[in-house]
């Protein structure tokens, strides 16, 4: 029987993968993909808690919000990446340190 | 006519200032227009000066043409203008010399707008000094004179103009500071507090206080006169200043010093005046001889005339110090006469400088052949300078010496020897410049022109006329002077 614990483990694995990608990948697109993974793991958590604990629709609403938000975020982030590429001729995150104090 | 009668002094003083304002509104390119505007306004002042001369009542020692309005009530400061026999001749002289100087400035070719507006401000300041009867107002005008002069020397002057201008400015400012202190002391010691020069004469200050104030004022005035050893700013300022400014400097500004003594020190501090009169006579004698001897050693004609001014102002001091009618009148008359004579001398120097572009006496020679009219007018001015009878300086100098000899035998006797030195340097200079064979380098110098004659002839006429008939100016001052003597020596 698949229970709440399985969902939480899946989401934790997904989150760790995303976090790992975010922390290690140099390519900004891969970095973005890591963020998407982390967002989706959060979405899985919402659905799972909604299904097993509260039995209402709030979790679903949040998950839908996250999906829309992730799409918007991806669009903006890609636009930023394009702009950075345009200006700096690179999308490697550790090269982009113009905010260094 | 009523307006002129009631406000003659305000008009004569501030018309030039209005002129300065008008000039500032004119476009700087229209140089001719600016010059004519300046001439127009100073001519208006001159006309009022003549009117004042005409209307001046010679039979009273009272203040005339009075204008008395409150200015800063809290400190009892008034806009108080008026003239008496001491200031009236000076006002007339100032308006005359200012007008002639504007005409003599026609050759100014750079910064015309600035020059003429500053000049007119200067004229306002000078006339104000002679008209003001409120010490505060007097001081304001005194300082107003200072700053245009600084720029006129410092911008339109010769090669060492900055040095000369700063020297002039600092010297006189030093004097002004002492004067300011003296003025404030008088204000706070008087009861009720007042700046009114006439009311101050009625105050009875203690002797010690009088002497301290006299000294402070005296240094301020001595720098203006200038009295040896405060005199070295004068030759430098003259050498660097443009011709017309030299005329004003020697013709009017020096007189502000002795005028201050007559107007402020003498009536307000009578005891100190008596106490100081002997040192004053000695200083006068030193001035006469020092100036004459130094003049003899000069190569530059302007420096020579500057030192001759120092010598001639010594005569004024000597006459003033005597506290006798002859000496005091002679001193004031000498101020007037020296104004005319020295103005002529500087204008004449300017004439030759414009042609030969230097003033080195030794490098001329035989100019009397080339420029006979110029030589003739110069000889008139030189002879007036050395006190030839028949010319105005003689009468004033003789009066000063006669007056002083009564009181200070030996000092005056020694001072008289200055007469020989004066004759010495003037005639020697004349010989080196005009006599002897013509220096061929100058065989094409043009004769003096109409505009220059226009400035010189009125002065020459005054020099001769007052030499023969001095009363028109002398009788302006005698009664006031008599009053002043009574005030000093009751």
């Amino acid at each position: 029987m698949v229970g709440l614990a399985h969902f939480l483990i899946l989401s934790a694995i997904l989150f760790c993968l995303g976090l790992f990608g975010v922390l290690t990948r140099r390519n900004a697109v891969a970095f973005l993909m890591g963020i998407e993974l982390m967002l989706n793991s959060a979405g899985i958590n919402f659905i799972a808690f909604s299904r097993f604990c509260s039995h209402d629709i709030h979790g679903h609403v949040f998950a839908a919000f996250i999906i829309v938000l992730a799409a918007a975020e991806a669009a903006i982030a890609l636009a930023i990446i394009l702009a950075i590429y345009h200006n700096l001729r690179t999308i490697e995150v550790d090269k982009i340190d113009v905010l260094k104090g | 006519m009523d307006i002129i009668q009631g406000h003659a002094l305000t008009l004569i003083t501030f018309l030039p200032l209005i002129g300065a304002g008008v000039i500032l509104l004119l476009p700087g390119k229209k140089e001719e227009l600016i010059k004519y505007t300046a001439a127009f306004f100073s001519a208006l002042s001159l006309l009022i000066g003549i009117y004042i001369y005409w209307k001046f009542d010679r039979n009273t020692p009272n203040i005339q043409f009075v204008e008395h309005y409150p200015w800063i009530r809290y400190f009892n400061i008034y806009y108080y203008m008026g003239i008496d026999g001491i200031s009236a001749p000076m006002v007339v002289l100032t308006s005359l010399l200012s007008f002639l100087s504007v005409v003599a400035s026609w050759g100014i070719d750079r910064g015309v707008k600035g020059y003429f507006s500053l000049f007119l401000i200067l004229e306002t300041g000078m006339l104000g000094v002679f008209c003001a009867l409120d010490f505060f107002l007097f001081y304001v005008f005194w300082e107003v004179v200072l700053f245009p002069m600084y720029f006129l020397i410092g911008i339109w002057g010769g090669p060492k103009r900055e040095y000369a201008a700063i020297k002039f400015f600092l010297y006189t400012l030093f004097g002004s500071v002492l004067m300011l202190l003296a003025m404030l002391a008088l204000y706070y010691w008087s009861e009720p507090h007042t700046f009114d020069l006439l009311k101050l004469t009625k105050m009875r200050f203690t002797r010690t206080f009088q002497i301290i104030i006299f000294l402070a004022l005296f240094i301020g005035f001595a720098i203006k006169v200038p009295i040896v050893p405060f005199h070295t700013w004068l030759p430098d300022a003259h050498v660097e200043a443009p011709t017309a400014i030299s005329v004003i400097l020697a013709g009017i500004l020096l007189k502000m010093g002795t005028y201050g003594l007559y107007r402020i020190s003498y009536p307000i501090l009578p005891e100190a005046t008596v106490w100081f009169s002997y040192p004053l006579a000695i200083l006068g004698a030193i001035n006469i001889i020092w100036g004459a001897l130094c003049a003899m050693a000069q190569q530059d004609m302007k420096k020579l005339v500057a030192y001759s001014s120092i010598s001639h102002m010594g005569v004024v001091l000597l006459g003033m110090a005597s506290l006798t009618p002859a000496g005091m009148n002679g001193g004031l008359f000498q101020m007037f006469n020296h104004g005319t004579v020295t103005a002529m001398l500087f204008l004449l120097t300017g004439v030759i400088y414009d042609r030969a572009h230097h003033r080195d006496i030794d490098r001329f020679g035989g100019l009397a052949v080339q420029m006979p009219i110029y030589a003739g007018i110069t000889s008139l001015a030189f002879f007036a300078g050395l006190g030839l009878p028949g010319l105005n300086s003689f009468i004033s100098e003789a009066l000063c010496f006669l007056g002083a000899f009564n009181v200070y035998r030996w000092t005056t006797a020694i001072a008289t020897s200055g007469i020989v030195f004066t004759a010495g340097y003037f005639l020697w200079t004349y010989q080196r410049m005009f006599l002897g064979p013509l220096n061929t380098k100058y065989s094409d110098l043009p004769e003096i022109n109409g505009r220059e004659l226009f400035t010189l002839i009125p002065l020459g006429a005054i020099v001769v006329f007052l030499g023969i008939y001095p009363s028109p100016v002398l009788n302006m001052m005698t009664i006031t002077m008599y009053n002043l003597i009574v005030m000093v020596k009751p």
Binding site: - | F405, V420, G436
Partner: protein
């Protein structure tokens, strides 16, 4: 009658004014204006003189007074005085002046400043007449200076010549030294009495208000003016140099009138002089008479010889006045004016003919210029004191006064020796002048060849003056006309005078004769060789030839030190006074620089140090901001972990 003196005075002034402004535009350059003015003055003077003569009252006096400078109690009221002395002086001045005007038409013909010459002559005439007519000390001084001015202008008339330019300056300044004394004398009198008019001052002297030391001092100071103007020792040096002026000027100003002004002044102010000041005057006059005469022996410039003779004769007049010979001195002034003007105009005529002043270049001119010669000879006889010529009478009177004085005061014997000696020397050198110039063989043939008699406009004045030189001493007119006016107390008593007079006649005639004979022997018949004498008394000759080195001594003792002092004072101004001024300015600049250093380093240092330390503190956290996103995320993750762990534990 005194009203007539006003036009006498004004006419020349008018002529001067017209001439100086319009002279060049008037036909004949206006010489007729000046001439007619002075001749009108002359006729008026003669009329006045005639009027005075017919009154024949030695004490007659008229005056006019004007208000000029009035200042309360102090007033100067000039006026005109007309008495016998004035009348005589008017005649002297106008006669000589008008004849010189006339003569100048010929002498100055063709000069490029012809009109100006006449203008200056008119100015001089005006000043001299004013001097004579003044009735107070102040106006006397004014005209005194004005004649000095005209003298300056006329000596320097040919100013292109450096010598003339030097001479006019020298004349003016030298006389001014004397004038200072005179001015001080006037001031002294004025300060003691408050009076300036002669009469009032004389009253004050009489009443004893002015007396004793101060009166003597005032007298000596006034006499200083006369020393300058009348070229007495030691201020005589200007007069020989003044010969650089045109000759008519020398005749008018430097022989007949202006230089006599000093004598006139002493005579006019005679009551002011105490015995002490008079004896000073006598000695200065005597020494001048003698010394100048000795210099005259060896000079070769015709005008300079005459100049020294003028100095000598003026000294003579002073000597006379000093010993109490008031009449004698003024009488000599009158006769001298005529014959000395004659001599100068004669020399001018010669110079006009031969174009040189050097008598060694002349010789034998008698035949070429007879009129000049005979008139010149008349003048020479007059000055030498040949009997029946005017100079004889006046000189005789002077020697008589001197002898009288010496008889009364034997200790003053040197005065007599000086006076008599000078008379002999005068006769000697004047005849030398005549012989060398007019007789013998011409020494420069070219000049001799061109020589000619002068035009009649020049010879007529010569003849007229020659006549006056002869007759002006005749008949004792002067003594009877002048009398001895009030206040002249010093003239010696009459008894002595008679005997002295006889002695004087003998002495003066003898001494003049000796002089003339010696001169004839030396320069005419050449029994005595002048060159030999010069050789034998070599050092004396050098001394005389160089005029006792007066000019050199003055240069070394006065002019050089004065110039040195002027330079010293100038350096004091430039170095010490300006040094102090500039130094204080520099000190201010230095102080301000130090202040700036303090501001920059100490005050600003503290402020900057505070700021710097804050910046340094900021550097530490600054390193944490790498700009690399992943570092921030790692830190955020680590933070979350730490919080979690902390919650768990």
């Amino acid at each position: 009658m005194v009203n007539l003196t006003i036009p006498i005075l004004i006419l020349p002034l008018l002529a001067f004014t017209i001439q100086i402004f319009f002279g060049k535009r008037i036909p004949r350059q206006g010489d007729w204006i000046s001439n007619s003015a002075i001749f009108m003055s002359l006729f008026l003077s003669i009329y006045i003189f005639y009027g005075m003569w017919s009154k024949h009252d030695p004490l007659y006096k008229e005056s006019i007074v004007f208000d000029w400078i009035v200042m309360g109690g102090f007033r100067i009221r000039p006026g005109i005085i007309l008495d016998n002395l004035t009348a005589v002086m008017l005649i002297v001045v106008c006669v000589v002046s008008s004849l010189v005007h006339l003569y100048s038409i010929g002498y100055m013909h063709g000069d490029k400043r012809y009109s100006r010459f006449f203008a200056f002559l008119s100015l001089f005439s005006f000043s001299m007449l004013g001097l004579v007519l003044s009735d107070n000390l102040f106006c006397l001084y004014i005209f005194w200076e004005l004649v000095g001015l005209s003298s300056y202008l006329l000596i320097g008339f040919w100013f292109e010549r450096p010598a003339a330019a030097d001479a006019c300056k020298k004349a003016f300044i030298t006389t001014r030294i004397g004038d200072i004394g005179m001015f001080m004398g006037i001031m002294l009198i004025f300060s003691k009495t408050g009076l300036l008019r002669y009469e009032e001052v004389f009253e004050a002297v009489k009443s004893g208000e002015l007396s004793g030391f101060y009166l003597t001092l005032a007298g000596v100071l006034l006499f200083m003016g006369a020393v300058g103007k009348s070229a007495q020792m030691p201020l005589h040096v200007w007069l020989p140099d003044a010969m650089e002026g045109p000759t008519p000027v020398s005749a008018l100003i430097h022989a007949a009138t202006m230089v006599a002004a000093g004598v006139y002044m002493v005579g006019r102010l005679y009551p002011l002089f105490t015995p002490h000041s008079l004896i000073t005057i006598a000695y200065i006059g005597g020494i001048t008479a003698f010394v100048a005469a000795t210099i005259g022996i060896v000079q070769n410039d015709i005008k300079r010889v005459l100049a020294y003779s003028t100095i000598s004769q003026l000294g003579y007049m002073m000597l006379a006045l000093g010993v109490g010979g008031w009449l004698a001195g003024l009488f000599h002034l009158t006769t001298h004016a005529f014959f000395k003007a004659l001599l100068f105009l004669g020399s001018g005529s010669v110079i006009h003919a031969v174009h040189t002043n050097d008598i060694q270049e002349m010789g034998g001119l008698r035949k070429k210029m007879p009129v000049t010669f005979y008139t010149f000879l008349a003048g020479t006889m007059a000055i030498s004191g040949v009997p029946f010529f005017s100079g004889y009478y006046s000189k005789d009177a002077i020697i008589a006064s001197v002898i009288t004085f010496v008889q009364e005061n034997p200790s003053h014997l040197p005065l007599a020796i000086l006076g008599v000696g000078a008379a002999g020397i005068t006769a000697f050198y004047m005849f030398r002048l005549v012989y060398v110039t007019f007789t013998g063989e011409p020494r420069n043939h070219e000049r001799y060849h061109h020589a000619h008699e002068s035009p009649s406009v020049m010879t007529v004045p010569l003849v007229l003056l020659a006549i006056l030189s002869v007759i002006s001493g005749w008949g004792g007119w002067f003594e009877s006309f002048m009398g001895s006016p009030e206040g002249v107390h010093h003239v010696s008593s009459h008894n002595n005078h008679e005997s002295a007079h006889n002695l004087a006649v003998i002495l003066s005639v003898t001494i003049s004769a000796i002089g003339i004979v010696l001169s004839t022997l030396t320069y005419r018949t050449r029994h005595i060789k002048a060159e030999d004498m010069a050789e034998r008394f070599h050092s004396l000759y050098r001394l005389l030839y160089n005029k006792y080195y007066f000019d050199e001594i003055y240069y070394a003792l006065i002019i050089k030190p004065v110039l040195w002092i002027t330079r010293l004072l100038r350096s004091i101004d430039l170095v010490i006074i300006d040094g102090i001024v500039d130094g204080s300015a520099r000190l201010t600049v230095i102080v301000s620089r130090i202040e700036r250093w303090i501001d920059d380093n100490i005050v600003d240092g503290a402020v900057n140090a505070t700021a710097d330390s804050i910046i340094n503190m900021g550097r530490v956290p600054n390193r944490m901001q790498t700009g690399i996103l992943q570092n921030y995320l790692l830190a955020a993750f680590a933070g979350v972990l730490i919080i979690l762990l902390w919650r768990i534990i």
